[in-house]
Symmetry: D2
Subunit: 395 residues, 4 copies
């Protein structure tokens, strides 16, 4: 094990802060006992605050993939049509999952370099005179590309089309890093996970659910038990769960919520946005290309960087890991070996970012990737002033 | 928070030892990076050792309830008949889960005071000339009653009936506490969880699967994705998982396996058996009744105690918690408020048991429950000699 | 490593609660930076609250032995006479330390079965017409015997003799377990350590110092630097220390103080007293003898038990450790192999005590020590009612 | 508390790695019990390996300041003359401590910009015909200036002068970061502490002692008890200590030794040297001055940077802390507010250093300190190739 701290700069799991690790490092308690209700209620209420919803958040002991499944099986019936949007690899996986469950996804194709297009969605919904489409599913922050979809605009597009479909959003890697508003944006089911902006280890996932979604769940025909919202809601109202919850991760969730409240969600979002900007400044200085092609879709969570033709992104990542003990995300599927992804989310700050970008810059050299120097320098131009500058901006 | 250590004597989650908590208290790592493969392989191989199988163990980020669902959805098709056995509350819950998934359980009734009866199972299978029954599902250690089912004998019963049904066993609370042998006993799917004999917090669950079960999974018609074995097996072969695993719980699992190897599974089982015997000696001395009615079904994991007529088990439990900071399991469903359950599993020793039984004895007095004194004394008669006696017995 | 939790029932170090271990499990911080002042001030102010003094507490990175030395070198000069009292082994060690430093101890002999006698002290002081005696040094809770000295009465004795000597008290094992009042009892220097009632690991020690002691320190001739109060006081006033403090132990100290405040010192003392009473009831039931011969000197911190003639206390302790994974304190010096000591201090509760006493009772049998059964039973008679009874008593 | 990890770049306490924090986060054990001997022996033997001595290392529960005192009180008598060398603030403090203890230091003046001069020492010893000087005391790595003294050369100088004085070296901040050889360099007492290269929290200190020093201790006249080597040696031989040791810090020490063995001391030293070189490259690029004026005295542990005339080093440090959550060491005494010190020691790696230097570069701008950009860039030129380059260099 090399000296010093590993730089875990994949776009999730993100660096788990000591406060959260320590909060989880406590004996598991009786999940049916009276003291547990406080833990459970704090987690369920805190989750609502993070999702910005007054409705209800379901918490599963599972990965985010489970919450994808939960969103679909609770609301839909075998053979239902769902409109999905190809923002990248994870959108494609969600589509494949829907198919495995016996749903019929209509997939709007994308080029993996931008967020979902509200106009395309609106157009497709307008075609659906018979309202065959039961749900519109969009990935908010596409973790494979670093592009953000305009959720509020998509809501408006659905409304403009006058279409009754449920609106489901995956913000697994967006929640608690970039702005997200379940209620205000009219989302019916929001899917998320613990190991990104919430700064927890993986093992918890979430469904924030609207009244409309709850209504749909009463008519849904897909078989379900573990994921069933109806079993959850009664016990949840008293701070309990129908089966054994992942108690120690809930301890951690409550600490994460406390940390987010201390910093303030607006400050959390501003910090991520600033780190995205500094990272893109570095990429530009290196003469490399950001995968996300449209500035309004840039992500504060991660930046995917396109390798120059003829150079292996995976080779570069291996060099970075070997020489500087830093992990980057790999290119997935269509962009395998062609991009690498820099995560700059979660419990992260300016100097960690400078260390990260130094790792990129040195590893580019070591791996013989053509580039100009000066990326870290360019990032420092953006970051200069640090927290004082951020506070000034916030006022 | 009262002084001293809480006595968590529910039949799981069990007391998590410091070694496991500390092993989990490490930064989450890149689950796609080269270093992870060692963690993943150790967990997958170690799990096989615990289940005593050379086949394959699937590890889920979920509660045990999820592994129940996984066992069924991977192997069965809508409308399939399954033979289940009413050993107690958890067997009943598993049956309800099967129903929710669209299966047709045939439920052999039981009185909640003994394990499953191989003869009854054999008889029912012999009736099933057309082999409508696709699976026989039995709970090994029924956590609601403290009765153990004879798994090897049930295997023989299935064979005697010449029935091709899959054999599925829930040993969520039995694994790593009492003897269990997936391969030798001819089980097709074994279901288990992390928070009992494995001494981990909740959040991991398991399916140990036979070749026959894997074969069945290829013909299974129930929709599945998160639970799908086929997606797991490829990545597992290299130490990886198809979606983000519960990394920190895997750290803990590897530590748990190391601890079990250090102690030796045979010693672990002997320790649990001895604690069960001492606990029953105490119950007898108090003049109370053990719920499990048949000595060959006694459990080393927990002891359910029947309250004298007219006395509330839940009132007694509240008194014990209030006065002595000790948690017992409650009576569930049919035996609600009529029994309380003493967990004596996991990371546990003689003096922790004496403390536990002292808590019972004093709380019986405090709650005005008629009993004789001398339970702790009787337990000490059994425990005398301590580890020296255990070692002598082991030789 | 055996299963379950070790019972650390020596009279200190005591069981460190998880809250304190976790509080210490944080990165060390800059002890000269602005954030440290809050940590330092909280520790210094909190210590004053525990010692019940409005004057000043000096905190050393050292064992309690260091604080013994500090008390003497700060206030005395080479060749000074000090009056010390032989309550047991630790009083004898303190005397030996005084001799090594070039002081001249007058040692009032004792039989190691009771606290210091105020009358004997008064008589000796009255003889000292020339006020050669510069300090009276008494051990409050003698850890080698489990006898408590009457500090308030000794203060009155000194006053009655009209003697100007400084009054120094070692309450290393008494602080935060049994009542102690630095100011009200007119103590000039109180010596203590972290690893007993404060529930911390060893590594911090304390001098609570009166104005009179500070005055004496200005005229003291013994060489000193590390222990020098004068270097400490200036930085302490701002929350800092003149050299690097044991930062992580200070984190733990602040958590310990928070825990003591939550429980309330009066409740802490009542809890310890009750556990002493229950332990003595057990010893009596076994037909064994408590070393402390006078009921008004009984300690709530520990109970030293005299072995029957011809039986080895150390052999018994080895059996207990081997068979039940429990540690007891050994007999020291004059009572070596003749007594063993049961610690019942710090983060401890009724059921931990019952487990402890069960360990004694079973190990007595295993080691062939003649005794009657029924000790645990007798202790339970005292403990019955648990925290409800304690709360009722407190009202 | 700001997001992300604090950069603790003072020259000690250094960043404590998770492995060490977790190793300490275990229950305190019985320091008189049989299991403790393994812990004690491992610590005492491991310490010998780190100091490169076959003689003996004494471990104190104290700060490094205590080990300074211990070195003197164990070997010297009141009024003894000691030759000390003014390398900087800590050498001056050690001299003041000697004076408080009643010794007579002869202080060779220095300019705080280089290590001790062997020729000056030899000259002074040659003057001392009567061998009044009983000890030569030198600071190896002067933490206040970042200058290293040539210990082997000083040994040769003492020998060349034919002087019998003891040779005492403070390597509190040098041990386990830069090369140190107690036996080979003929040092009689080496003083060190836990919170620097050993990567532990503060609270342990060390005296490595030669046979000659042990001989001197038998004739030493200064009073001592806590620090007395003679009381330590007997118990140490069996793995025990005469009074309660700082048990949990010993757990951490054993983990630290394991980590140092895994990396290899030669690699540890090479890593520190390389980080020193990269840091100086940055300072030069900024157009600032390194306090250490002689390249052969450069330290791998820390770099002190001289502020341009008219600019406050403390103001700069406050800006850096406020804007980037990074702590630097302050200028002490003679260089107060004129230098700041960058620690690059302990559990540290290339990207942490790049983050650190980015923090300097941005804070210089923010604080309006005149400088050229390009420091981080210059450091990256040195660091390029990372661990591959280091491994290649090592072969």
């Amino acid at each position: 094990m090399p000296a010093g701290r590993h730089f875990l700069q994949i776009p999730g799991p993100s660096n788990v802060p000591d406060r959260i690790l320590r909060a989880m490092d406590y004996p598991t308690m009786d999940h049916r006992g009276p003291a547990f209700a406080d833990v459970g209620r704090a987690a369920l209420e805190g989750a609502k605050w993070v999702f910005k919803t007054d409705s209800r958040v379901i918490i599963y002991p599972s990965s985010g993939t489970g919450a994808w499944e939960a969103a679909l099986v609770n609301t839909l019936s075998p053979g239902d049509t769902v409109l999905m949007y190809e923002t990248g690899h994870f959108a494609t996986l969600w589509k494949a999952l829907a198919e495995r469950l016996g749903l019929k996804p209509v997939f709007i194709e994308g080029d993996w370099r931008r967020g979902a297009d509200p106009e395309a969605i609106e157009a497709r919904l307008r075609e659906d005179k018979g309202h065959e489409i039961k749900a519109v599913c969009v990935v908010h922050n596409e973790t494979s590309t670093g592009s953000v979809s305009p959720i509020a605009a998509i809501r408006r597009a659905i409304d403009a089309a006058g279409h009754p479909a449920l609106f489901m959003v995956d913000t697994i890697s967006g929640l608690a890093s970039i702005d997200y508003r379940h209620d205000e944006w009219g989302v019916d089911v929001t899917v998320s996970g613990s190991q990104k902006g919430l700064m927890l280890p993986p093992g918890l996932s979430f469904n924030a659910i609207s009244e409309k979604a709850i209504g749909a769940s009463k008519r849904s025909g897909l078989p379900k038990s573990y994921w069933a919202w109806d079993d959850m809601m009664g016990p949840n109202d008293k701070g309990y769960f129908p089966y054994t919850p992942a108690t120690n991760l809930l301890y951690g969730l409550n600490e994460a919520i406390a940390m987010l409240k201390e910093e303030g969600l607006a400050n959390v979002f501003a910090r991520h946005a600033r780190h995205g900007e500094a990272t893109r400044a570095a990429v530009q200085a290196w003469g490399l290309e950001v995968l996300c092609a449209r500035s309004e879709d840039y992500s504060g969570v991660l930046t995917a960087v396109v390798m120059p033709e003829g150079h292996s992104a995976d080779g570069f990542r291996a060099t970075a890991l070997e020489n500087y003990d830093i992990s980057f995300g790999n290119g997935l599927s269509k962009v395998a070996d062609r991009v690498f992804r820099i995560g700059h989310l979660g419990d992260f700050n300016d100097l960690m970012l400078c260390g990260t970008l130094s790792g990129v810059e040195m590893a580019l050299s070591d791996a013989g990737v053509p580039h100009r120097k000066g990326g870290v320098q360019a990032a420092m131009e953006v970051l200069g002033g640090g927290q004082s500058a951020m506070r000034a901006a916030a006022e």
